[in-house]
Structure formats: C-alpha cells, structure tokens
C-alpha cells in the first residue's frame, strides 16, 4: 500500500507547516480544524450563523465548551447490503461525527473501511460532489440553474418522445435508492410509457433471482448473515466476503470458532480463503463442474437427505441419474483442475456438517451459464443435502448494494412491476393502476402499444447495443436515443470501448447522481453537447427505508439537509414529472383522492412524502409480503435495536417508549415476507421456507409457482410437509377466492374483505383478507405449498450444464461443452453466444490472450468506485488500479512488482485495435499462473490516458485509474443477460 503518496502534494505540505506552527502560534488554521469547520463554512442551506470557534485568539480559550446542541440521527450505511447502522452526530446541521451502533443486532457496531469513512460524504470542504446542475456546451462543462436544466431536459425528452415514441428513452435507476425512491421511479417510468428501465441488480444478482426463484419460489437470500451462527458448514463459492461484505465475516468467523467448517472455492486465494478450513482452487468459469462433482460424491455415497427430497423436491432422481453418469471424477478434474480427493473432501465435509449454507455473490452470477447452470447447481446442492428451509441451512446469497434487494423487490426492473408482478401479465398493470390510483386506460395509452406495455424492456448490461444495433434487429420501434443514468456507474458494465461509441451516438444523456461519475467524463471525451448533470443527494440527506440482503427493512433518518444545490431523487422525479405532464399520476391524485402527499423539502420546494410512498408499497406489494412493513413498525425497530437477539433476530419482549408499539415476537426489520396488513402484526420471516415454525412465527414452505402437476407427478408438497401447526397438512395451490370457498373458509372474511376479495387471489386482494385468513387463522402460506424443482423444464438447460466461457482458454473443452446457440431476441436485442465463442476459437484468441482475466472487489471501494475514490480516507488506501499476477507469469513477461503493465483483451476499439488498459502489477501467489485479477472499481483513465480534463472542475475523484470493464469483451448470461465479467481472456506485457 502506497500510504504516503499524496494525490495532491500541496495538501500535505500545508498540513505539516501548519502543524509545525500550530504549537507555537496556535493561531493558524491547520487542516484538521479547517476540515472540522468546513461544513459550516461552505454548506449551502444549513449554514449556522455562528462558527463554534473563532480562528484568531479562540485557540487560547481553553475552557470554552461546545455551545450548540448535538443531535443524534440514526441511519444505515449506504454501501453494502449488510446494513450496518450508524449514529450520525449533527451539530448546527453539520455532520460532525459518526458513532457505531452496538445495539444493532445485524452488525453489533462493526464497520468496514467504507462504513467507518462514510462521514466524508458530509464534508463540504474540497468535496468532489456534483454541486450544481451542469451542461456540456462546446465540449466544456457549464454551470446552469435547476430551472434551466429541468426545462431543457424535459423539452428534449418530449421532442424525442414525439419523434420516436416513449421507448426511445431508457432510465437506468439505482440500487442506492431508498425503497421509496426505487418504487417511485418504477412508477415514473411506467407513467412515461416504457419498460426500458433497470438497475444494478442486472449486472449483479439478476441470474440469482431468476435461477433461484425458478427453483423454489423466491429469488432472495434464504436466511441471514446472523443465521450463520447456527450453521455447521459454510461453503463460499463465488464470494469474497472478507472484502465485499466484511462485517458478515463477524458472524462467519464466530461460527467458525464454534466448530463450523468454512470451505472456500475460488480461483484466487482471497482474504476470505485465508480464513477457510478447506481451500479449493478451481479454474474460473468451471463452477458447474465443481458443484456437480460434489453432488456426484453425495449421491454415490447416499449422503443426500432422502426423506426431504421425497416430500419437498420434484425431479431430483433425474438430476441424480445425470450427475452419476456424466460428472465422474475424471471429467470434473478435466474441467475444473481440482483433484478427486479435494472434491471428495468438500462433499464429505458438507455432508457431515449439516445444516450448512452455500454462500455466493458475483463469482457465480457473472457467467454465460449463470442462471441455468451455476446458480441452479448451487440450489441443487443445498436441496440434495436437505439444507433449504432450516435454521442454519440454505442459500445465503450476499446481495451487493445497500438497497439492491429493495430496488429489485419494488423498483426499476424491465420485466416486473413492484413486487415482481410481471409486466407480461395484463393483470399486473390492472393491479398497480388500482394501487397507484391511476386510470388504466390512460396508462395503456402512454405506451407505444399494448404489446410494448407487456414486453420486458432493455437491460442496463445491453443498452449500448440498443443504441448501436441495426434498427431491424431490435424488438422495439426506435433505437435508444436518450439515456438517463440515475444513480448508476457506467464502468460496471462491460465493453467500455463500445459504450463510448454508444455515448457518441445518443441524442441525450442525463446523469442524475451525487457525483458526476465516469459517465460525465466519458461523454465529455467524445461529445460536444447533449449531456446534462443533475446533482442528487446521498441517502444521508433524506429519510427512507432500505432492505438489507437478509430481507430486513431498516429506516434511515435524515442526517443533514441536501448539500450544495443537490436535490433528493424523489424531488427531482416530481419536478421532472411536472414538466413532462404526469405529476398528478405520480402522486396518485385522481377522483378527489391523493395517495402521496407533498411535503416541503429543500428550500421550501415540494417533494413527495416518503412515508406515504412506503404506505403505498404496503398497499400494493402482497406477493413478497411488503404489506406488513409499515413505517411505524420499522421506525420502532430502529429505536429499540437492543431488544433484538443477535442469533435469532427476534425480540423476546419490550415496548417502544415513543409509540407504545409492542415489539414482542417481531424479527428485526420484519424480514419479508411480512404477511398481511401491519395491524395483523406478522413478525417477519427470518429464514425462508422453514417448516419447523408456524407461519405466524416466521415459518413457511416452498412456493407453488410452477403448476400443480407435471407428467402425472404432483408438484405439491407431500403429506406431512407443511409449516408447523398449519391447518392444511399437505401440499396445496396458492390461495384465491375459489380455494377459500372450496375449503369453507370464505365466511371467515369480514364483509368488507369479501367485497374486495371476490374474484381475486392472494396477490391482488387489496383488503388482505385472503392472506389474513390463510396465515393468521389457518397457519398456511398464501402462495401455496409445493415442492422445489430440481428440474426447471422451462429453461434451455433443465438440469445445470457446464458451458465454457465465451472466451475460454481451452478450445478442446469448448468442443465438449460449448455455449448456447445465438438468440435472435432476448430483452429486445439479439444476443450472440456460439457465434462469438466459435469466432474466438477460430481467431485463436486463447493464443493471443493466454491468461484468464477475472475481476472482482476491493474492500475500500464499491461498484464503479467514483464515490469512494472521492472519499479522502478511502482514496488514500487504494490509489491505483492494479493487476494481480502470479510470480511465474510475471517473470515470464519480465514484469516486476509495482511496475506499469498493459493488459490487453479481445475487446476491440472502433479502429479494430485491441483495447488495452494500463495498470500496476501486483505480483502475488494469490492467483495461479494461468489467471490474473483486476478490481473493477476504477475509472477516470482511458486506456492509459488520465481523463482529468473531462470532469467538471473540482469534481474529479481524488484517485483515478483505468477501468477493467473498458476491456472486458462480449459475453452474457442466457436468461438475464448479466455480463460475463468473471472469466474472459487477456494478455499482460510490460509498459
């Protein structure tokens, strides 16, 4: 670590001099004091009239105490999905300190580098925040007023809409939104009239959600980080939790010290692997073979949980047959490079140490066969072992951003309305038009056609092709002409050199972000105009809820007023909606009713009330049980965190002093599904599908999502498999008015409930009566009781298959395990698979680029990284992008530790040359001789050239570097088109 290198030489000198003098003169203001007071001096609207200490002379006033009162606001870290609580100390509107919240049952006061440094977001001195709206004019960034910005942007959008229709716009939303903002954006985009919206989940866990949901019902983490304390084994395959979810390691390591076996399989020896009991190094991209190899030993030795499979799983016999026949140890070793003994050891350890969990993140999700292959194989492993739906056992999926779970649940998805109501089903639109209080016919007319309304939109991983591709190949009328990057980075998507071309071709690019992000710099590099930057706030400048990876919902209090000229995302959504003509619909204002009130925000301007938005979510999202997660309940949870047990997340007893709400029995954050209306007081579901508990105590079973029977075999759960105490002791379909009547339970609904529930099912009954009768009265799961599917017959690969990456180092294996056939239309665009792979083989890419390139995370940075690299404390810790390279590989190329190298890949520039990025070499044995690793958090250089000149002045991140995704070439998942950024090819040479 180059700790003493300064990004800005003058700064350190000033500090040293001032410090040297301070002892003598005690009158100069050195950097510490300047930093401490900076918020007061420069903060836009929250400026106090008096400075707490005057500069000259006050330093001698030793006894002067701080005059103004300090307020403590409880918030949640804005970085990863663990959801560490923070107590922000605010004085005169300035965030002066942060304290850990030991009471939090989730993180117990712990933080990682990012969480411990997050107060930098509130420091206005030398802030790299986007401070005011900007416009690119003649290739230069010009400051403009908000009025001008909103005016020009809306006019241009309306013009594009008139010329090309609403589908010419794509709004890339954010996993950093609060639930309320995410929900509002999905509504916003629907009111505009397109499904072209997406967020970070696409490039993160989209394959997980699809693969897991298609197996057993919901695509979310089945347990929680805390529940690892109850596990006997933890298998990390595709997760570097020590760097990506550091605080989760608190629970992992505590479990390990209590005898839990930690197994890590990773092409790199990561910080997580350093804490493993068993470490397995397998070839990047060979995960399916590894998992099937483990399953082979499990089936061969009869270690599978036969009773569990009989009652709760459909189709495992087919899987067993294929695994035993196809994935013999020699085949597994051929593909993965792992010896039979090692695979056997893993299988035996997992079998002997149950309940256990499999943990994964991007290592599994970012492959061409992620959804149908890797993810599904992970599910099969846990089903075979009988681990799913138990305390201490399951699929512990580590989501990424602080609210990617919430944004996926209720936010901007191209194929779903909030709550996973599919856009392809007209009933979803009918449901949401009702909840939103919007006229359905009016809403239909907003779209180019009803066909477009029910067609899933374009994804963030592929938007560039929607701009560049030939119009006849796109499954919508216009090409994309306008993009709004609303809280998203560009350098987390691959094929950066192609993205630059797309940015050139767009008519309009709008960036709404607290920081300009690499989007601004990239656009300024290739464009002269047509780009607008609108400053929005961080999550510390507004209140709202966020959903952690374990499905717990936490409430953030507002720490400070929006800094500089930034506005909250929901204020910007409302103000744009006003200009674009659907402001009333956004608030649900119709027929004398208004769902969402307006409150006064920054500068006295109107903005939608966040608590009202959450109540609208409560009224509409029945499918995943957001209905019971009211603002009052979760705010009471945040005030009484100390009452929740850290092992079970349950409150044993206690009342909220402020509201009198009785917290007894609640699970912290009411992890969804939290069934029924808030009054029903369902406690939340800490572990999904757990049949050992009653439904009203957080129990459950697998979802009936795939029909009642297949090929004569019942898909419903067998007799005796049901949540504890359920009145139906066997499998059953989801509840609707017909089933209730058949069971004779219809009259248990109140008269009012009956009126609403007539003709409805559990998911669109706005009274919640069907759910109430099913859960509270009869202890049954509203979504039915079925078996998990070992075989997903609607996938191209019903049973997981290994398929070589599109850019594979092994042409011989490409022959045996080729990728999918090309697809003509997937998410409105053609996708190449086999043709790309064959082309790579024919052009002998594996010879030109003999090293496997994998990318991943660093603990100090997150996502695109512009935000953390603008943080003065985090930037110091990771100042340059680097490539991890094995000593042998480095020696063969004459590369020494710390030198610059060029990393080139099969990705091409428009002129046909191969993209190459310039990074430092970090020689380590952590990667094998055939693999190199580059973190993806850097941007701000373009193939060796610093892009400093293209950032608006004073907003460039403190440290910049080449983005690995500029170089990562074509490759997408077959189902969700998540990019294949975990395994591709490259060459390294000395610079």
């Amino acid at each position: 670590m180059l700790l003493t290198r300064k990004a800005n030489g003058s700064v350190a000198r000033e500090g040293r001099l001032a410090r040297a003098l301070s002892g003598v003169l005690a009158k100069t203001m050195d950097r510490r004091a300047f930093l401490r007071r900076s918020g007061v001096a420069l903060g836009a609207s929250a400026v106090a009239s008096q400075l707490p200490f005057r500069i000259i002379g006050e330093a001698e006033a030793q006894e002067k105490k701080v005059a103004a009162k300090v307020e403590v606001k409880r918030t949640v870290c804005t970085y990863c999905s663990v959801g560490c609580a923070i107590d922000a100390h605010v004085q005169n509107g300035v965030w002066i300190r942060q304290e850990p919240v030991f009471d939090s049952p989730i993180n117990l006061g712990a933080h990682c580098a990012k969480g411990a440094a997050t107060r930098d977001q509130g420091i206005t001195h030398d802030s790299r925040r986007l401070k005011y709206p900007m416009k690119l004019e003649g290739g230069k960034w010009k400051r403009i007023s908000w009025d001008q910005a909103l005016d020009e942007v809306s006019k241009r959008l309306l013009k594009i809409r008139e010329e090309s229709g609403p589908d010419a716009l794509m709004v890339v939303g954010s996993s950093k939104y609060s639930n309320e903002q995410a929900f509002l954006l999905r509504k916003w985009v629907s009111l505009w009239g397109t499904n072209n919206t997406d967020h970070q989940a696409r490039i993160c866990h989209s394959s997980t959600v699809a693969g897991v949901a298609q197996t057993w019902g919901y695509g979310a983490m089945t347990n929680s980080y805390n529940d690892e304390l109850n596990s006997k084994s933890l298998f990390f395959l595709g997760s570097n939790a020590a760097e990506a979810h550091p605080v989760s390691m608190l629970h992992t390591l505590h479990a390990r010290e209590n005898g839990c076996k930690v197994i890590v399989a990773d092409p790199r020896y990561t910080r997580t692997a350093a804490k493993a009991d068993i470490y397995v190094r397998h070839r990047s991209g060979s995960d399916v073979a590894l998992l099937m190899g483990i399953l082979h030993h499990i089936f061969k030795n009869g270690w599978e949980d036969k009773e569990y499979i009989r009652t709760r799983v459909y189709g495992m016999e087919q899987v067993k047959e294929e695994v035993l026949k196809k994935w013999t140890p020699d085949k597994v070793t051929e593909v993965t490079g792992v010896s039979e003994a090692e695979v056997f050891q893993v299988a035996k350890t997992l079998a002997e140490n149950r309940p256990g969990m499999i943990v994964w993140a991007m290592g599994q999700t970012q492959h061409n066969n992620a959804t149908t292959g890797v993810i599904r194989a992970s599910c099969l492993l846990e089903l075979a072992l009988g681990n799913v739906g138990r305390r201490g056992g399951g699929a512990n999926i580590y989501r990424g951003h602080d609210n990617v779970q919430g944004a996926t649940d209720v936010g901007p998805n191209p194929d779903n309305l909030p709550g996973y109501y599919p856009v392809a089903v007209p009933g979803s639109w009918a449901h949401w038009a009702r909840v939103w209080n919007v006229d359905l016919e009016w809403l239909k007319k907003r779209f180019a056609s009803e066909a477009m309304m029910t067609k899933p939109g374009i994804t963030v991983s592929r938007w560039i092709d929607a701009v560049l591709e030939k119009n006849e190949n796109i499954d919508q009328d216009p090409n994309l002409r306008a993009m709004i990057y609303w809280g998203h980075s560009p350098n987390s998507q691959t094929r950066g050199s192609d993205m630059l071309e797309a940015m050139k071709k767009l008519d309009l690019m709008v960036v709404v972000n607290p920081y300009p992000s690499a989007t601004a710099a990239m656009c300024a590099m290739v464009r002269k105009d047509g780009v607008y930057l609108l400053p929005s706030t961080t999550q510390y400048e507004s209140s709202g809820s966020c959903t952690a990876s374990n499905r717990s919902v936490q409430w953030r209090e507002k720490v400070m007023e929006p800094l500089f000229e930034s506005r909250t995302d929901h204020m910007i959504m409302y103000q744009l909606a006003q200009k674009l003509g659907f402001a009333d619909q956004l608030l649900g204002k119709k027929d004398g009713k208004q769902n969402i009130r307006l409150v006064k925000g920054k500068g006295g301007m109107d903005e939608p009330d966040v608590e009202d938005i959450l109540r609208e979510i409560n009224r509409g999202v029945w499918t995943i049980g957001y209905s019971g997660i009211s603002p009052e309940r979760i705010q009471a949870h945040m005030r009484n965190m100390h009452l929740f047990d850290a092992r079970t997340l349950r409150c044993k007893g206690g009342k909220d002093a402020k509201t009198g709400y009785d917290l007894t029995g609640d699970y912290f954050g009411l992890p969804w599904p939290c069934w029924g209306k808030p009054e029903m007081k369902h406690p939340g579901t800490p572990n999904l599908y757990d049949t050992s508990l009653p439904v009203m105590e957080g129990g459950g079973n697998f979802r009936a999502l795939f029909g009642v029977e297949r090929d004569g075999v019942s898909l419903l759960a067998e007799d005796g498999s049901h949540p504890k105490g359920a009145d139906i002791t066997t499998g059953h379909p989801p509840f609707d008015h017909v089933l209730l009547k058949k069971l004779g339970w219809w009259d248990e609904l109140t008269e009012e409930e009956k009126k609403e529930a007539e003709g409805k099912n559990w998911a669109n009954d706005l009274s919640g009566g069907i759910i109430r009768v099913a859960t509270k009265v009869h202890g049954c799961m509203p979504f039915g009781n079925a078996k998990a599917r070992a075989v997903v017959w609607n996938f191209p690969d019903p049973i997981p298959q290994h398929r070589e990456p599109l850019y594979s180092p092994r042409p011989d294996l490409v022959e045996k395990y080729p990728t999918y056939d090309d697809v003509k239309t997937l998410w409105r665009l053609p996708v190449r698979f086999k043709s790309e792979q064959q082309k790579a083989v024919k052009e002998e890419m594996h010879k030109k680029f003999p090293l496997i390139l994998t990318s991943g995370r660093l603990v100090e940075l997150q996502g695109g990284g512009e935000e953390q690299r603008s943080n003065r404390w985090l930037a110091e810790l990771q100042q340059e992008n680097f490539v991890e390279i094995n000593p042998k590989t480095a020696a063969a190329r004459g590369v020494r530790n710390g030198e610059y190298v060029w990393v080139s890949t099969p990705q091409r520039n428009p002129d046909g040359s191969f993209v190459r990025i310039k990074v430092r070499a970090r020689v380590t044995e952590g990667v094998g001789p055939d693999t190199v690793f580059i973190p993806f958090h850097f941007s701000g250089w373009w193939q060796g050239r610093d892009m400093l000149a293209f950032y608006p002045e004073g907003t460039e991140p403190r440290v910049r570097g080449d983005a690995v995704n500029t170089a990562i070439p074509y490759g997408y998942d077959r189902i969700t088109v998540i990019q294949e950024s975990k395994t591709t090819l490259c060459q390294v040479e000395r610079a």
Binding site: R13, G115, T924, V927
Partner: protein, 211 residues
C-alpha cells in the same frame, strides 16, 4: 485499576481497513499520516496468510519515551502513552526506537522533511484541556474523556481489534482461545511457547546443558 491496551486477533483480522479509516475519520488525520495500518504477511500463500492491525501499542516501558531528547512523552494513569506536540522537535528518534513504526511524520520533498510527530493517542487526546478545540486540532479526539473507547477498536468489522482495559481484553481473548481450542497459530507462537510444529519455528533445543 484500568490499564489500556490493544490486541489484534490475527485469527479474525480480514484487512478490511475499518480501523484505519475509523481513526482517520474520528481524528481527522490528514493524507499521508497513518496512525493505524493493517499489515498482511504471506499474501496469497495458502494456509499462511495473516493480517494484523498495528498502531501505537502504548508500551509499559515505551522506547519512544526513553529516547526523546526533549522529553515530550508522558504516560497517563491508564497507561496511555501521549506526547506534547508543542515540545516535539521532529527529530525522529522515537521513530527509530519504536518497534511498531507508530510515530508518523508527514513527509514532503525528496529528503523527507519532518514535522511534529503524530501517533495514535488511544483516542485520549493530549496535554490540552480535554475535549477542547485545541486538543482536537493537535491530537484528535479524546474519546476516553467521553467515556468511550478508541474508534478503531469499537468499529472493527470482525471484532479482531480489541481496545480497552487489558484485563477485559485478556478475558475476551481467553474465551476465544478456549472456544477455538488452540492458540493464534501465528508466527512466533512456537518460539514463545516452545511448541514445535505449531506455527513459527521453535527454538533449537541444546543437547544437554542449560535450557
């Protein structure tokens, strides 16, 4: 009687750098000065990689205090080693003496010009009135005077870094060792306790003669 100490449990440290940024944040330490750093040894070597967080250890018999030519160091009743920056002449002797590299000097120029020494204060401030502006400017936060413990230890992601009363730390660590059923398997463990094969070389046993 409380005696303040740090202990970093290398079995738990994952080099998340939370302690590093917690300190920078709480004490507003400028760029280039790092009171706390995390060191990882044997990076990438399977089975041997370990991380440990290092700052001032507040030694009972502090070498920095012993060598300071202007005697600007003192030790509080809790055992926290602090110094007076007004007296410090920036000679760097304490830096030579300290086995942990705790004294920090912001470097500038080609020949390492030094200013006043800065180091971890166990979040106990310095010889200025407690919790005053002057103390914050020179030494950072005085958390002990607020009844709290050092920010780094309180915010450690995996509770590897323990900071506070030495007796309590010993109790906590003893519980962990008992639960793990073994020692830290760190370098030198074998040397210190003469257990061959338990990580780190054990001292060669002389044939006969004195042990």
């Amino acid at each position: 009687m409380a005696r303040m100490k740090f202990l970093c449990d290398a079995e738990r440290c994952i080099e998340c750098n939370g302690c590093v940024t917690a300190c920078k944040n709480e004490n507003e330490v400028p760029w280039g000065v790092n009171r706390r750093r995390v060191v990882t040894i044997n990076d990438g070597v399977v089975g041997a990689e370990k991380s440990i967080s290092v700052a001032c250890m507040h030694c009972s018999d502090a070498p920095c205090m012993a060598v300071c030519p202007v005697d600007c160091f003192y030790k509080t009743e809790d055992g926290v080693v602090l110094h007076d920056k007004d007296l410090c002449i920036g000679c760097g002797y304490c830096f030579y003496a300290c086995p942990f590299g705790a004294p920090q000097f912001p470097s500038a120029g080609a020949f390492g010009l030094r200013g006043k020494m800065d180091k971890c204060t166990f979040c106990a401030g310095g010889p200025e009135p407690d919790r005053s502006e002057a103390e914050f400017r020179k030494y950072g936060r005085n958390r002990l005077a607020e009844g709290k413990l050092p920010a780094c230890a309180e915010m450690c992601a995996t509770k590897a870094l323990l900071g506070g009363d030495g007796d309590v730390i010993a109790d906590i660590y003893r519980e962990r060792v008992t639960r793990r059923g073994r020692g830290p398997e760190a370098w030198g463990w074998g040397t210190a306790y003469g257990l061959p094969g338990r990580g780190g070389a054990s001292p060669a046993q002389p044939a006969g003669g004195r042990s």
